[in-house]
């Protein structure tokens, strides 16, 4: 079995979750790797869109931000934010969008915080803020979430609810007036977590090779169901080759 690092496995685990024919909303960083890798691994007819207005980008180099000129290359159309967010919610295209997000904190129902740690009025740490994350999490039918698996990040209560997950349970989104569904999966550096169809609570779907289910729990403030957990299939030679040679040969996001 080839060697690989956690970032590589995270990108591949997320790529495997992208269905052929889906419209993939990308944020910055590792979500771009997943979206680019998916086109080569399992979803050749998926297309990549950015909130900045680039639709069906043909990425040749990894963009450093969603505003990077690299997202404009070979796009089917380049417009602006208004068009891109409209595509995510109109009745024709909106239901086909999968959004990939990240955050500083996540709770049991997949609600995300990317705004502050501590009190909102006098935060101990200020982050960048929602950007388009709250929009995407509100509008689309399926989101995948990248997280670093740490106790201070998988928390019982997020300090600030920036982007809606399943809110307070199965009926939360409908009561709030949100369209679509909440998160489908969380991909961390230790595990892949799903959300139960009935309760909408997070559960352990798969743990990375070499990681135990208990180690996953030890890095969370709340407890999740382990009964469905299995070991994640390690990346194949082909998946790693795609990621390293085609997607990020400069290792800008995969790192050293």
């Amino acid at each position: 079995m080839p060697g690989y690092n956690a970032r590589e496995l995270m990108a591949i685990a997320a790529a495997r979750k992208i269905n052929d024919g889906e419209i993939v909303f990308c944020g910055t960083g590792i979500s771009m790797l997943a979206a680019m890798a998916a086109k080569h691994i399992c979803a050749p007819n998926s297309i990549i869109i950015f909130e900045t207005g680039a639709i069906d980008s043909q990425l040749e180099e990894i963009p450093m931000a969603v505003g990077d000129s690299r997202v404009m290359l070979g796009a089917s159309s380049n417009s602006g934010l208004a068009d891109s967010f409209a595509l995510m919610q109109n009745r024709t295209t909106g239901r086909h969008v999968v959004g990939i997000l990240g955050a500083a904190q996540i709770d049991l129902f997949g609600n995300l915080n990317s705004t502050v740690v501590g009190d909102y009025d006098r935060p101990s740490v200020r982050f960048a803020g929602s950007g388009g994350a709250a929009d995407v999490a509100s509008f689309v039918d399926r989101t995948l979430i990248f997280m670093q698996h740490e106790r201070r990040k998988f928390v019982s209560n997020v300090d600030y609810l920036t982007s809606p997950g399943w809110l307070d349970g199965p009926d939360g989104r409908r009561k709030a007036g949100l369209p679509g569904n909440g998160p489908a999966a969380v991909i961390s550096n230790l595990a892949v977590m799903g959300f139960d169809d009935a309760t909408r609570e997070m559960f352990l779907e798969a743990y990375f090779p070499g990681v135990t289910p208990q180690a996953v729990l030890d890095n969370m403030e709340f407890t999740v169901d382990l009964s469905r957990a299995r070991e994640l299939e390690p990346p194949t030679e082909r998946e790693l080759r795609i990621l390293r040679e085609i997607v990020d040969p400069q290792r800008l996001i995969l790192g050293g």
Partner: protein, 324 residues
């Protein structure tokens, strides 16, 4: 707005005329792309204070205006510059120290807010961020909102769909219009009459321009208005919207300008280092912004070879293989 056919002026004059202390301003671009940096630096050089800044995801420009102490309040969706600063560093310090007031929205909410301003309606509806703290928590106090006629009384208003369940929607959130005194943009081409052409993504620049009372545009090329008007379908801004056209090649540097140059990774990495330390940042402000008297003198300080390294490849619009 200005219907005259001659809008060209220098940057000092444009900023002095249209950006008074305490002005409500918005700047174009997105994170590390097409921020109107030359105009931002001129605002800093003229030591403007008390600005009220509206931004969706305007990274570098926001951080420099906040870092230099020009900004009192900011309404924003995202303050980051991609990998160079996942959270803008001086912005983060200012919020954590309580030296600026912040009101949080999402990118789409900010886009709609500019669009509402452009349309002349008081608000627009969306379903974005229902059920979140973006709606529940206010950064600006109720007292500030009630006492300041330039601010709407509410941050956001949630209401039931007045058309019943039409379009499968039970509830909407109303986002209030933004009406800046001035919007500052950097574009690829503009004519003396104000006709302006953006190449590549427009971000929310067009809505931001149309929402504002005054518009200052800096441009890479001061183009012949007749040539721009020969292909009007490629122009986004009609000349009448603009009050000032300023010819500033590399006016978005150190952010990118599609088809002209990339962002400068070396500059942005050095900036990150400077921004994390107050003393270093003071030196940065002195050496890069205050000592040079204008854009030309400032750019004479860019180390040899840096502009050549970021020059855009004509086929991709960015610097291929740039060391990032």
């Amino acid at each position: 707005m200005d219907t005259s056919s001659e809008k060209v002026m220098d940057l000092k004059t444009a900023v002095a005329r249209f950006v008074p202390d305490g002005a409500h301003i918005s700047i174009g671009g997105f994170t590390c792309n097409r921020n109107p940096m030359a105009a931002v630096y001129e605002i800093i050089r003229q030591r403007k204070t008390g600005l009220h800044l509206y931004a969706h995801s305007n990274g570098q420009g926001v951080d420099e205006l906040v870092g230099a102490g020009c900004v009192a309040r900011v309404e924003i969706a995202y303050a980051g510059t991609g990998r160079f600063a996942p959270t803008c560093i001086r912005f983060r310090k200012a919020v954590e120290n309580g030296t600026i007031a912040v009101e949080d929205y999402s990118n789409y909410q900010m886009t709609l807010r500019f669009l509402a301003g452009a349309m002349g309606v008081p608000f627009l509806p969306t379903r974005s961020a229902l059920g979140t703290d973006i709606i529940r928590r206010w950064g600006f106090s109720e007292a500030l909102r009630r006492s300041n006629p330039r601010l709407p009384n509410e941050k956001l208003v949630v209401m039931d769909n007045p058309f019943g369940g039409w379009a499968e929607t039970d509830r909407v959130v109303l986002v209030p219009a933004i009406r800046p005194d001035v919007t500052l943009l950097h574009v690829q081409k503009a004519g003396r009459d104000g006709t302006a052409r953006i190449e590549g993504l427009t971000f929310a620049d067009v809505e931001q321009a149309k929402a504002a009372r005054h518009v200052i545009v800096t441009c890479e090329d001061l183009a012949d208005a007749g040539e721009l008007r020969a292909h009007p379908h490629l122009n986004q801004l009609p000349g009448i919207l603009l009050d000032a056209v300023v010819h500033v090649p590399h006016g978005a540097y150190p952010t990118a300008c599609y088809r002209y140059y990339d962002y400068d990774p070396a500059f942005l990495n050095d900036y990150r280092t400077a921004a994390t330390d107050d003393e270093r940042y003071t030196r940065y402000l002195r050496d890069w912004i205050f000592e040079p008297s204008d854009h030309r003198e400032q750019h004479a300080r860019i180390p040899e070879g840096r502009l050549a390294a970021i020059q855009a490849d004509p086929h991709t619009g960015y610097a291929k293989g740039l060391k990032r």
